[in-house]
C-alpha cells in the first residue's frame, strides 16, 4: 500500500514534480563550476518520481518514467564510461577532461566537455539506483 489517500498530495504532486525535474536539470548544468552537479540533480529528480509514487501509486510512477530504473543505471554508467574513454581518442589518460568551445553570438561561447557527459551519466545512474530501491520497497 503505497498510495496515500490525500487529495492535497495528489494535486500538489502534479504541480511540484515538473518543477522539481526542471530544478534538477538546472542543478545538473550548474554543477560544473558551482555547487550542484549530477548527484544532487539526480536525487532531486528521483524525489519527483518518489512523490508520484506516494501520490498516485507505483504503476503510475512507472508509466511516467517509461524506462525501467535498472536500464537507467546501465545507461548512466555506460555514458560515464564512454565519457572517460573519449580521452583515449585524444591519446590521453582515462577520464581526462576534453573541452570544445562552441561560439555563439558575439563573445559568448558555450564550453562543452566530457566532464558534463560524465555528470549526465551520474545523473541517470542516481535516478536509476534510487528508483530501483524505491520501487522495490514500494511493492511490499
Amino acid at each position: 500500500m503505497t498510495t496515500l489517500p490525500s487529495i492535497i498530495l495528489r494535486t500538489a504532486v502534479r504541480w511540484i514534480s515538473p518543477l522539481l525535474l526542471l530544478f534538477s536539470l538546472f542543478l545538473l548544468l550548474r554543477g560544473h563550476h558551482e555547487p550542484g552537479g549530477g548527484f544532487s540533480g539526480g536525487l532531486i529528480a528521483s524525489t519527483a518520481f518518489a512523490l508520484f509514487t506516494f501520490g498516485h501509486g507505483l504503476e503510475t510512477a512507472r508509466r511516467i518514467l517509461r524506462v525501467s530504473p535498472p536500464t537507467l543505471v546501465v545507461a548512466g554508467i555506460t555514458l560515464a564510461l564512454v565519457s572517460g574513454s573519449l580521452a583515449f581518442l585524444a591519446h590521453k589518460t582515462f577520464l581526462t577532461g576534453l573541452w570544445i568551445a562552441i561560439p555563439l553570438v558575439g563573445d559568448t561561447r558555450v564550453e562543452l566537455g566530457t566532464p558534463l557527459l560524465f555528470d549526465v551519466g551520474v545523473y541517470l545512474t542516481v535516478i536509476g539506483a534510487t528508483l530501483t530501491m524505491l520501487f522495490e520497497f514500494a511493492k511490499e
Binding site: 546501465v74 554508467i77 555506460t78 564510461l81 574513454s85 589518460t93 582515462f94 577520464l95 581526462t96
Partner: protein
Amino acid sequence: MELLVTLPLLIPLALSLALFAARRHRRASRIIAIAGATILLTVAAALLVVTHDGIQVVAIGEWPAPYGIVLVADLFSAAILLVCALVSWATIVYATGWMDAERERTGFYPLVFALLLGVNGAFLTGDLFNLYVWFEVMLMASFVLLVLGTEKGQVEGGIKYVSLNLLASTFFLSATGILYGIAGTLNFAHLSSVLAYVDPQILNIVAVLLGIAFGIKAAVFPLFFWLPASYHTPPVPVSALFAGLLTKVGVYALIRVFTLLFVHDPGWTHTLLLFCAALTMLTGVLGALAQHDVRRILSFHIVSQIGYMIFGLALYTPLGLASSVFYLIHHIVVKTNLFLLSGLVERTFGTGSLDRLGGLFRTHAWLGVLFLVPAFSLAGVPPLSGFLAKLLVIRAGLAAQAYLATAVAVLVGLFTLLSMLKIWNEAFWKARPDHSMILHDTGRFPARLVVPIVVLASVTILLGIAGEPLLALSSRAAAQLLDPAAYQAAVLGTVTVQAINGGV
C-alpha cells in the same frame, strides 16, 4: 602502457554492462562472458610482462599524485591480478555449464564481472580511500551473488556475511579518517613517506584498526567466523569464485599496508600478526576436522591456509614475503579448483555430506585422480605447487627463528593431509552407503565442467615441477615490497615530498 594498466578495470565494467543488457539471452551471455574472461586473462598476462620493466603508474585524468587518483601496478599486484584472472576464467567457463536458467537470467554474469571490477580495482589502486571504494564494489557484488536464488541457507549465510563485512568496512573507514587526520594524505606512496614523521603510538592504533578491517575480510583468527558460515551456501561456481578471490583481496591489502605503511614498529605490529597467523592456521584446520560436508571442510581450510600467507608477512623478511606471494598464488589456483571439484561430487550425489557419499572412485576414477592433484597440493605433497609453497614458508620461518609458529605450520600441514584423506576415503574410496542415491551415473560431465578443472590442475602440477620462474617472480615481488622508496619514486616521481608533521 597506460592503457594496459587501466584495461583490467575497463574490461570488467564494460562486460558487466553488456552482459546486463544481454541477460535475457542465455547463449549470448555465455559467449560474451567466456570471451570477456579470456580477454581479461590476456590483458593481465600482458600487464605482468610490462611490469617486469618496473612499477607502472597511471594518474587518472592526468591529475598528478598525490592529489589525483593513481593506479599502480607492481610485480606483486600484477602477479595476483593474473592468477585471479585465470581462476575467474575457469570459474566462468564452469558456470556456463552449471548455472540454472533463473540465476543466469537474474544477472549472474554481470555480477561476476562487477565483482572482478572490484577485485582488480583493489589490486591496482594506489590510494587508501580508493581501496575502500573498490572493496565496497566487490562486497556489493558479492552480497547479491551470495543470496542470488533464494535458498534458506543462502539468506542466513547472507545475513552473517553482510553484517560482519559491513562492520569491517566501518573499521576501514574509521582508520582512513584517523589516518587522514594525522597524515593529511591518503595516497599510499605519499603516506609511506609521511608516516615516518608521525607519532608511532597513534600509528599503532591505526595499524590495528586497519588490521581488524582487513583481518575480517581475509578471515584471520579471531575474525573468521563469517566465512565457514556462508561460503558453502551459494551455488558452487559462486563459492569457488569467493574462495579464490575474496579473502585473498583482504590478504593482499594486509600485505600492502604492512609492507608500505606500517613498518615503523615491526617488533610490535608484525609480532601481533605472527600470533594471529599461527592461531589462524590451527583453528582453521581443527574446524575442518570436525566437519562432515565437503564444501564446509574446504571453507575451513581457506581459513587455515590464510594463516600461512599472513605468517610470511609477519616474518617481514625477503624470504618470508616471497613465501607469502608464492603461497597466495598457489592457493588461489588450488582452492578454486577444489571447490569446482566439490561441485562435481555434489552434482553426482545431490549432496556434499560425507555420510551420503562413497564409491566415487569405482564409478568416476578420473574424478578421483583429478581430486588428488589439488588435494595433495593443498596438503603440501611433492611434487605439487603446495609443496614448494609450504617449503618456502617453513624455511622462512626457520631462518627468522620463529620456531614455534613454524612447528604449527608443519603440524597444520599434516592435519590438512588428514582432512583431505578424509574426503578421499569417504567420498571416493569407501563403499557406497545404502541410503545414497546417484543422480548422475554415466560418468560423463559436460566439457565445460571438466576443462576448467583440468586446466587448473595442470597449472598446479606445472607450478610444482617447474616452480623456478614463479619462485624468481615471488622473490622479485618481495624485494619490491620491501623497498617503499622505489614505490614512492615511481608514484610521486619528481614531486617534492613534503613532510607534514602532526595534523593538517
